[in-house]
């Protein structure tokens, strides 16, 4: 076990994690998850928001056990390796809105960075403008980091505060299995499950949960981060995390190809639209939000499992953002951007620019 841990902590860690996650993501599609959506941190959080009644888009409501697994896998790993360290206080409200707008951007593109890479590995060329937008957003974030951007320090807090997210994850699993129906006459929420559409497409829950736990553990040990990968490569000329993303894309492509899930083209791709401009702009916003918050959505969930209260707030911002995205016609559909998606994206970018310029600090 300690040999495996050493390997995951070495330069091979992100590569091993990326490769395993890429393979598992492609397999989850075979087992029932939506096309090119074996794992999508933003889409899955959006599905959970729908299942809890935070939005009423009937086709995207399901409690994704992968997400609960991420938190619990990371929590268990952090406990075992004595890295469980509850901390918070680094501009939590700003982080909430960074999470909120990261989700808006992701739902304009229809995927987080994880899914952008998975869409590419499945032959969905609409992912290319999205990934270019992601890189552009990260580069804007790097400009702010070079100029002293900081959300300030976090501070250690009571051990118990770090248990909230793992308990929330357990609650989600209980809701998934029991599917309680509250409300008048037991006909209302809080748990809604799609009967058709992407929300109705899912792998068996026990497998999805197992994958989530494994990914949570691997990513906690190796610090796998799909945004930090590009940030560190551009900013520090450090390919440590980027090698993991390359492994993720290559292995997902190979498994997709082997399973007959590689369908190259622009038209008719699963849960995708062909509007290049808003595929690009959505991910500019997401990439910028994730860079300003210090990590990709997967990394935010992993850190929330380690006890990071600020990442937990970011995650809750994503959850609420998903509710707004579908309640206010901000999210895209396969037909293209939602009525107010472009306006919300521009609003989000203005918010991020304001945060980038205003939150500066000098460390001596």
């Amino acid at each position: 076990m300690s040999k495996v841990n050493e390997l995951l902590m070495s330069r091979w860690g992100p590569i091993i994690t990326g490769g395993i996650v890429g393979a598992l993501a492609a397999l989850l599609v075979k087992l029932g998850n939506p096309g090119n959506m074996g794992i999508c941190v933003a889409c899955f959080t959006r599905d959970i928001a729908g299942a809890l009644g935070l939005h009423h888009a009937a086709v995207v409501q399901y409690i994704r056990p992968e997400i609960a697994g991420f938190i619990l896998g990371s929590f268990i790993s952090a406990l075992i390796y004595r890295e469980y360290l509850p901390r918070t206080g680094s501009s939590p409200l700003v982080r909430f809105f960074l999470g909120f707008f990261a989700m808006i951007g992701a739902l304009v593109f229809l995927g987080c960075p994880w899914r952008a890479y998975l869409r590419l590995s499945g032959g969905d060329w609409n992912a290319i403008p999205g990934i270019l937008g992601l890189i552009a957003g990260i580069i804007i974030g790097i400009f702010f980091l070079w100029n002293g951007y900081s959300l300030g320090r976090s501070y250690e807090v009571k051990k118990g505060s770090g248990y909230i997210m793992p308990l929330a994850a357990v609650t989600l699993i209980v809701f998934l299995l029991l599917a309680p129906q509250f409300g008048a006459g037991g006909t209302g929420g809080p748990v809604f499950f799609s009967e058709k559409g992407p929300g109705a497409a899912h792998a068996p829950w026990i497998i999805a949960l197992g994958v989530g736990l494994l990914v949570g553990w691997l990513a906690q040990r190796s610090r796998f981060c799909t945004v930090g990968a590009i940030r560190d490569l551009v900013m520090l000329k450090d390919p440590h995390l980027f090698n993991g993303v390359l492994a993720f894309i290559v292995v997902a492509f190979l498994v997709n190809f082997a399973l007959g899930q590689f369908n190259p083209g622009f038209q008719g791709q699963p849960v995708a639209h062909t509007n290049n401009l808003w595929n690009f702009m959505g991910m500019v916003l997401s990439g910028l939000c994730f860079t300003l918050a210090g990590g990709c959505p997967g990394r935010q969930f992993i850190m929330s499992g380690e006890g990071d209260g600020d990442s937990s707030i970011f995650v809750l911002g994503m959850l609420v953002g998903a509710g707004f995205a579908h309640n206010f016609s901000l999210a895209s559909s396969p037909n293209g951007p939602g009525a107010f998606g472009p306006a919300a994206t521009i609003t989000g970018i203005i918010f991020c620019l304001a945060v980038g310029f205003l939150m500066r600090e000098r460390f001596e």
């Binding site: 390796y81 360290l85 680094s90 900013m235």
Partner: protein
């Protein structure tokens, strides 16, 4: 031997511990720098960066915080 330069990077998000370390060692031709961080992730990031820049790295684990001693 002169006193080490202390860099307090506790509580900072990625990649700021590396950036403040970079800013400090960029002004030095050699010597000793102590970087204080609170997570193992930050410790490993700072250590990897410093090694690449030719600094010798010693890591010390204090449980709820980490010390990275850089010498050149």
């Amino acid at each position: 031997m002169s006193e080490p330069v202390i860099v307090d990077a506790k509580g900072l998000s990625c990649p700021q511990p590396v950036l403040v370390t970079q800013k400090t060692i960029a002004q030095m031709e050699g010597g000793c720098v102590e970087v204080h961080v609170d997570t193992v992730t930050s410790r490993e990031n700072v250590a990897r960066f410093a090694r690449k820049k030719g600094w010798k790295v010693v890591k010390e684990d204090y449980g709820d915080w980490q010390k990275i001693i850089l010498t050149k």
